[in-house]
Symmetry: C2
């Protein structure tokens, strides 16, 4: 499994607007091969920003990479950049491979 994260330093006071951009958009992920689950995460508050992360679980890194060059990806990101700046700098991308999994038992 593979986890794709993007970290966003959202400007203090813009948290609700940032959440609305995500929760009101069309998602084009549900039927993408290899897509398992997506979470938008709200993290700790810092002096000048609140950390958010988008967090997507994929069956494999290869299927994630195939999606990034697909029409579904283009549609999902069509609106990006069209809003007033809600976060500092650029989102920071990090891809993770799953080494170990433990489930409640």
């Amino acid at each position: 499994m593979f986890i794709a994260m993007n970290r966003f330093k959202v400007i203090r006071g813009s948290e609700a607007d940032f959440e609305t951009v995500w929760t009101s958009r069309d998602t084009h992920l549900r039927d993408v091969p290899g897509f398992i689950t997506f979470h938008l995460l709200r993290g700790p508050e810092r002096e000048d920003h609140t950390l958010f992360a988008s967090h997507t679980l994929w069956a494999s890194r290869a299927e994630f990479e195939a999606w990034t060059t697909s029409e579904a990806f283009r549609l999902a990101h069509r609106g990006a950049g069209g809003n007033k700046p809600l976060y500092l700098g650029h989102p920071e991308f990090e891809g993770f491979d799953v080494v170990q999994e433990i489930n409640a038992g």
Copy 2:
């Protein structure tokens, strides 16, 4: 839902040892109230380290916080610090609340 992450900057060349510490330890998580799933994640390679993250999904922040003061937590971390340094600095903790969830459909 609540996600607890710890980020580790593992020294280049120590990645296999770091993974072994995690995969060979006793886990005391399975039966902890509110625990859902745990992943050890291997992230991008940087010049002086490879990023790893431990990533635990909890039913609520309150159940995570209850665990951090429990006997199970003490047991799980008993061995921490006993190994030669495998990572730079201290692990960086970040807690996240789930804002939005989308599942494959």
